[in-house]
Amino acid sequence: MKILGSEITPYKTYLNRRKFIKGSLASAMLATVTSSAFANHESDFSIYTKNLNENDKLNSYEEITTYNNFYEFGTHKKHPHLNSGNFKPRPWTIKIDGLVKKPQTLDLEKILSKVTIEDRVYRLRCVEAWSMVIPWQGFQLSELIKMVEPLSSAKYVQFVTVFRPEEMPGQQKRTIIWPYREGLRMDEAMNPLTILATGLYGHDMPNQNGAPIRLVVPWKYGFKSIKSIVEIRFLDTQPETSWETLAPWEYGFYANVNPNVNHPRWSQGTERRIGEFKRRETLMFNGYEEEVAHLYKDLDLTKFY
C-alpha cells in the first residue's frame, strides 16, 4: 500500500520540531514512499542508515500495522489490528520511579516538548524468525534518561506496559502475566540506537504497534521492544522480564539477535523478511554489530542469550 502525503496525519510535535537539513539516504527512501511529508529531516543520521543494506526495502504501512505480536490484543498476528480500536492512547502519563533523583509522573506531551523527534529506519527481527524494515519516528531513550537523572546506583531500566483489560481484550485472559514487563542494562538503554518511538510512517503510533509510545531496540528480538509504556523504573539489579519469566529456557534477558544461538524450537540462522519469498540469512545483532558488539565483549552470548 502506498501512503500518500495527503493521507498522513502528521505527528504534531514531530512537525513542529522539524528543521531543514539535507536529506540522507533514508530520508530519500522515505521521500519516495511517503512523498513530501518526509522531504526534510532533523539531522544527519547516516550512521544508522549505513546499516540498512541496499537490499533492505521498507515494509509497507499495511504490512507493519496488520501483522503484529501484541498479546494484549490477542495472540494471533491479526488480532492487534482487529481488536485495538477501543484503546485510548491519550491522555498519557509515564511514571518514573526507582533509583532516580526525583520520582515523578510525567505527561507525555511534556516529555515530547523537551525531546528531538527524528526518523529512524530500522530492521525489526522477531524471535519467531520473521522480520520487517520500519520507518519509526521517535527520540533517543538516553534523552529521557538524562532528563530524569537516575542515581549512579541505577544499573538497569525496567519498562511496564499499561494494564487496561477493558480496552485490551487479550489482557482478560492470562496468556502471560500482566502487565508486560521488559528491561535493559543501563548502557543498552543509553546506546544511541535505542529509541522511544511515537510514530511510524509519519502517523501517530497506531494502537496495534504500541501507542502512544514504545521502545525500539533494533539489535534485539522484537519482544524486547515493549509497547504502550506507562512506567519506567531504575534498578540496581537485573529486572524480571515477561517472556523470560514465562519460559527462561527459551527467552533470555538479553535476547540479542544472534544467528548462532538457536531458539530451542526453531533455528535463528535464517528469517523470512515479510514480503519476500525466500528466507534470508539472519545477521549478528540484526546487522547492528558495529554499534553494539562492544557492549557484550565480556559476555558469553550462548549463556546470556
Binding site: 495472540t75 524450537r265 519469498f277
Partner: protein
C-alpha cells in the same frame, strides 16, 4: 437408522467439502490473498486441517458404536486419506516454500527440534496407514494384521497434537482442546475394551 447407503450417498458432497479448503488456499496463495506472511499462513491452515481430520476419523469410530450410526464407518477411509493429503501438502509447504529444499537444514531441523520431530514421525506413521487403505490390502494382509497396522492412528494423533502444542508460544487453549478430545476418545476405547472385551476384537 442411517444405512450404509445413506452414508455412501453423502460421500461426493463430503469429498468436495473437504477438498475445497485446499483449493481455496492454493488460489489465495497464488493471488496474494493469504495475508502478510502467506507461507506461514498456508502451512498453519494445512496443518490444522490435517489434525482436525485425524481427530474426525477417531470420532467416526467412536460414533459407530451408536447403533443408529453404525454405518458411519464407511466414511472413515475417505477422511483418513484426506488427512494424509493435507499432511502431505503441509509437509511439502514446509520443505519447498518455507525452506526451499535446503535438505541439510531440514534434516537438522527434524533431528534437533522436538516439535518438528513429532510432526515428522506423525507423517511417517501415516504412510503405512494411507498405503493400506484399499479393500484389496485388507484382504491381502488379513483383517487382524490390517487392524494392528491401523492402531498407528493413535500415536499419529497424539504426536500431531503435541506438534501443535509445542509450536504455540503462549495461549495453549486450542491445542489443549484438541489433546483433550483425543484423550477422551482413547479413554472411551480403553473403557470399551475393559467392559466388553469380546466386542473390541
Amino acid at each position: 437408522m442411517f444405512s450404509t447407503r445413506n452414508f455412501n450417498r453423502s460421500k461426493p458432497v463430503l469429498f468436495i467439502l473437504i477438498l475445497f479448503p485446499s483449493l481455496l488456499w492454493a488460489y489465495q496463495f497464488v493471488t496474494g490473498n493469504l495475508g502478510v506472511n502467506p507461507i506461514e499462513k498456508l502451512m498453519d491452515e494445512l496443518g490444522l486441517m490435517a489434525l482436525r481430520l485425524i481427530i474426525l476419523t477417531l470420532m467416526i469410530t467412536t460414533l459407530s458404536n451408536i447403533k443408529s450410526l453404525k454405518s458411519i464407518v464407511v466414511l472413515r477411509r475417505m477422511i483418513g486419506l484426506f488427512a494424509f493429503y493435507y499432511v502431505c501438502l503441509h509437509f511439502s509447504t514446509y520443505i519447498v516454500l518455507d525452506h526451499f529444499l535446503d535438505m541439510q537444514f531440514i534434516i537438522q531441523d527434524i533431528i534437533k527440534r522436538p516439535f518438528i520431530t513429532f510432526g515428522f514421525i506423525s507423517f511417517l506413521f501415516l504412510i503405512p496407514l494411507a498405503s493400506t487403505s484399499t479393500n484389496n490390502m485388507i484382504k491381502r494382509l488379513g483383517f487382524k494384521l490390517w487392524k494392528k497396522i491401523h492402531y498407528l492412528i493413535y500415536p499419529v494423533a497424539i504426536l500431531a497434537s503435541m506438534h501443535f502444542y509445542v509450536l504455540v508460544r503462549a495461549d495453549k487453549t486450542e491445542p489443549v482442546i484438541y489433546m483433550g478430545i483425543i484423550i477422551l476418545l482413547l479413554l472411551h476405547r480403553i473403557f470399551k475394551r475393559i467392559t466388553r472385551p469380546q466386542l473390541a476384537q
